[in-house]
Amino acid sequence: MKDTDVRQGTLALMVLKTLDVLGPLHGYGIARRIEQISGDLLTVNQGTLYPVLLKLEQEGSIASEWGASENNRKARFYRLTRQGRKQLQTEARSWEQTAAIIERFFAVKGEDVK
């Protein structure tokens, strides 16, 4: 796995958070936002993003409808549903927990275990 690739589960969380923060957004907007937040460490394109969007939509976390983009193009806008918001909260919490645990592990220095 290249380091610019994103795991699907992680990407789903990023999508949810993006929609939570920015409100309804189309695919390109989501991709750019994720790249922007990551400081261009991640590249996301339609091929990786679309399956995640489809999956989230099936799970009912997001919903979509066609609308007009800022460039006045017909675009599909994705928005967070109530269920999605709940999912985001649960996943954010578990992610924070995981991150905290991992952090503590790395914080342990050699002499601490002696």
Binding site: G27, G29, Q46, G47, Y50, A75, R76
Partner: protein, 885 residues
């Protein structure tokens, strides 16, 4: 919920594909537009912006494909696309596809037909409730299976604790009179519990009750149960038949029940009518109650296992009680032989069937190997295509999936053709099957068989496709440039060579088996039957009805038949016998010679009893060794005389002159017969059984009257053609007496080896197919190899190799493989032939002549298979070769 939504979305996508596609296309397009707009905002020109956006995205089509690969509906779609592509490819190489599909059809068809034949015998349970609890019980006298006596049956009923119910039966062949022609039926006399033991009840009317089976009384009343087929055929399915009387052998019999449709009577499949046995429970020692002629079937209690039940039987046999007196010939000293009904039914045919199943598996394997080989050969030529696909981004799994779709499609076509083939051959198979094959009426291509074939086809499709698919993928990997295929002899050649070796080896195993069987059958027919089978017509003539209750009338009828038959033009001799060699009859009696000390009486042998008319030996061509034949003076009032066969005399009367010796036939309380002559040995049951002891006497001197007798007619030429004239002659005397089982003696000799001939026929068919497939395999390999090495051949001939050198090159390649295959096959055959042992006769399973002959045949065929490619190779001109690419 989510599953439902997923399904609905997938279906929507499938049904409204264009709309779904447009949706995706729109979204991808919009994505590109947005990206382009953002590049434009950074100062690029519109064209440059768009190009940059596309560069960033990669191929729009690729992205769309990637997006489309999501969801189950897309898997369905790509699969359909794979199948469509596979179909187009098969159509593009029709000959190749045809050969492959036909090869598979042969393998699958043969397997399906054989499976449908062996399924009811070897695998399906019998069509009764709890069939595994049914047992067949024999008197184990002398270690062989002997029918039980009624007396033994009564003792077992009274003493056993392991069985729910027991029943005995014996065949009957009554003549049914009616509006139409009199018809001779097959049926059984049964004890009242017969159908209860089987667990089947009549569909109409009632079952037999104990009251229906009293001791025999000529005035009846008689009752019968008829089969569904008889009810429909003779009585137009009239339900009022129950309670009505029909005329059986001129005796009124009341029909009390009709068996259900589809009732299968495995113990006597031809039976259409059943009546009660009516034996005397007082069990007089000189009556039929102590004759060994009943089959005993029993149902074991649910809580008892079969071994325990069998054990109890042995205990009963050992411990004789004063309440149950036994005559000396039914002393049960050797215990019982008891096994499950299913095992007993299939016992005689199991070895042949297992061997045949083995053969068909070999054939199927050869067919699969052959098709694999064909696909590999084609794989070489499509390496270019696969390389291109890989270069365009097809994944390994995707390529393998597509290649498997092709072989699965091929296998499906082969399977469909195979089912058609099986359907058409299965009837022929049943017609050819030996008469001993149980449940042959249950042999059909049914749902089980179709499920088997479907499963087999899938497995074959995957197996056959696996090697070529893996090979194809390897070849399509990096470096497998499209143009290399004509220059290098690559790894797949090695695989293909191994496959050809396997094929040759398997074909050799089948050929050896067929060869051994062929020699067995030849040896068998070379056995002297003891009589002269040429130009002898035989048929069974029966008398039935009130008129013939009197023995005199019966004898007179047969005498006048003989007179009339002798008048028929073309007839040179005619005689009657109570049982005919190789007819399936087996009626034997214990024979006690006066010269044998009483102490040795327990070892008295049993011999076949023939009640014959004077002139029987001449009519059959049985040679007289010493003494005289039976003649017309040996009538009812004359001294009792007998003729025995020579090996019997040699063994039982060593050092004595057999003429003048006296013997008992059956119970020792009977009268003495004096031996007046000795004839040659005659085979009674089968050509393979060399020793059958015989006692011949005249019909009037025997204590019972045989109402069914075999007529033997000898003619100068074409005995079979005499049948109508003889029928007419007998009908002129009494047109109501049925004539049955008409066949020439030569036909009987052939039929007596039916099981071996059946196995031989199938093995010959399989082995021939295997030989052809092996030849095709070798040919296609060499031919492919010559094509690939055209350049090499050209270079060789340019460098001065003669045509002979090149021919030798090809032959060396081909014959090395064949030689290897033959070597491995000989080893395999030596092991596999163990399964054939019971079918062999007069040859050992390692018969060197057979092995050598078969190896030579295979070698010759493979030389033929090499010749064509070698000839082509020899004609390669250097100039052509150098321009080949």
């Amino acid at each position: 919920m989510s599953l439902w939504r997923e399904l609905a979305r997938g279906l929507r996508g499938l049904i409204n594909r264009p709309a779904a596609d447009r949706d995706i296309a729109d979204e991808v397009e919009q994505y590109v537009d947005e990206a382009a707009a953002s590049f434009e905002a950074r100062g690029l020109s519109p064209e440059e912006a768009r190009r940059a956006a596309l560069r960033e995205l990669g191929s729009v089509t690729a992205v769309r494909e990637q997006v489309r690969a999501y969801g189950w509906e897309n898997i369905v779609e790509t699969t359909l696309a794979d199948v469509g592509y596979a179909a187009r490819r098969l159509r593009r190489y029709p000959i190749h596809a045809l050969v492959a599909a036909l090869t598979l059809a042969l393998g699958i068809g043969a397997s399906t037909a054989i499976f449908s034949a062996v399924n009811p015998v070897l695998f399906q349970p019998l069509p009764y409730p709890d069939p595994q609890r049914l047992m067949l019980i024999w008197d184990g006298q002398g270690g062989s299976r002997l029918d039980v006596t009624f007396g033994t049956y009564r003792e077992l009923i009274a003493r056993n604790r392991s069985f729910n119910a027991m029943a005995v039966m014996r065949p009957m062949q009554p003549t049914l009179a009616g509006v139409a022609e009199p018809e001779r039926l097959d049926g059984e006399y049964v004890s009242a519990d017969y159908f209860r033991v089987l667990g089947v009840r009549p569909a109409l009317g009632r079952d037999f009750e104990a009251a229906d089976d009293p001791p025999y009384d000529p005035n009846g009343p008689f009752v019968a149960i008829v089969s569904d087929t008889l009810w429909r055929r003779r009585f137009n399915a009239d339900p009022t038949l129950v309670g009505r009387q029909i005329l059986l052998n001129d005796i009124p019999v009341t029909v009390i029940g009709i068996m259900p449709t589809g009732f299968e009577n495995v113990l006597s499949p031809q039976s259409e009518i059943w009546s009660t046995l009516r034996y005397d429970p007082a069990l007089p020692f000189n009556g039929r109650e102590w004759g060994h002629h009943l089959r005993l079937v029993a149902r074991v209690r649910p809580e008892i296992d079969l071994d325990r039940a069998s054990h109890e039987l042995q205990e009963i046999a050992k411990a004789q009680l004063p309440d149950f007196e036994r005559p000396q010939w039914a002393s049960l000293q050797d215990g019982f032989i008891a096994h499950s009904l299913q095992d007993e039914l299939t016992r005689s045919v199991r070895p042949a069937l297992v061997a045949i199943v083995g053969a068909v598996i070999l054939l199927l394997t050869i067919a699969c190997v052959n098709v694999t080989n064909l696909l590999l050969a084609q794989g070489a030529s499509r390496r270019g295509e696969l390389s291109v696909r890989t270069a365009l981004g097809a994944s390994r799994a995707r390529i393998i999936r597509q290649l498997l779709a092709e072989t699965l499609l091929l296998a499906s076509i082969g399977g469909a053709l195979g089912i058609v083939l099986a359907h058409t051959t299965v009837d022929a198979l049943v017609a050819l099957s030996p008469p001993g094959l149980p449940r042959s009426n249950a042999i059909v291509v049914d749902r089980t068989v179709l499920a088997f074939t479907a499963g087999l086809t899938t497995v074959i499709g995957l197996l056959v496709g696996l090697l070529p698919a893996l090979n194809g993928f390897r070849a399509s990997g990096p470096g497998g440039a499209p143009q290399q295929s004509t220059r290098i002899a690559s790894g797949h050649q090695l695989t293909r060579r191994c496959l050809v070796v396997v094929q040759v080896a398997l074909a050799l195993v089948l050929l050896v088996a067929a060869g051994l069987l062929l020699r067995s059958v030849q040896r068998l027919f070379a056995m002297p039957p003891g009589f002269d089978p040429t130009e002898r017509l035989t048929m069974q003539v029966q008398v039935a009805g009130q008129r013939f209750r009197d023995a005199e009338t019966s004898h007179r009828f047969f005498d006048s038949v003989l007179e009339a038959v002798r008048q028929v033009p073309g007839v040179t001799a005619a005689a009657f016998t109570s049982q005919l060699p190789l007819s399936g009859d087996e009626e034997a009696y214990g024979v006690h010679f006066e010269s044998t000390p009483p102490a040795a009486a327990e070892e008295d042998p049993s011999a076949y009893r023939y009640a014959v008319s004077p002139g029987y030996f001449a009519a059959m061509g049985i040679p007289l060794r010493t003494g005289r034949a039976l003649d017309s003076h040996d009538g009812a009032g004359a001294p009792l005389v007998a003729v025995i066969n020579e090996s019997f005399a040699r063994r039982r009367l060593p050092g004595l002159n057999p003429i003048g010796q006296r013997l008992h036939i059956g119970p020792n309380s009977g009268p003495w017969f004096t031996v007046v002559g000795v004839v040659g040995d005659v085979t009674q049951t089968s050509l393979a059984v060399t020793r059958s002891d015989a006692v011949y006497l005249t019909a009037p001197q025997w204590r019972f009257t045989d109402n069914a007798r075999w007529l033997v007619v000898r003619s100068q030429a074409d005995a079979a053609a005499l049948a109508p004239a003889i029928r007419r002659a007998i009908a002129a005397i009494d047109r109501n007496q049925p004539i049955i089982r008409v066949a020439t003696m030569e036909e009987r000799v052939r039929a007596s080896a039916a099981d071996r001939r059946f196995a031989l026929l199938l093995f010959e068919a399989f082995a021939t197919t295997a030989l052809i497939l092996a030849a095709i395999g070798t040919y296609s390999l060499l031919s492919g190899s010559v094509t690939e090495r055209t350049r090499e051949m050209g270079v060789r001939s340019a460098l001065g190799a003669s045509r002979l050198d090149i021919v030798a090159l090809v032959f060396r390649q081909g014959l090395t493989l064949t030689g290897l295959g033959i070597g491995i096959g000989l080893g395999g055959a030596a092991v596999a032939s163990r399964a054939l042992v019971t079918l062999l006769f007069g040859v050992t399973r390692l018969d060197s002549a057979t092995y050598a002959g078969v190896a030579t045949l295979l070698l010759l065929v493979s030389i033929l298979a090499c010749a064509m490619p070698a000839w082509r190779a020899a004609r390669v001109r250097p100039s052509v070769a150098l321009r080949f690419e």
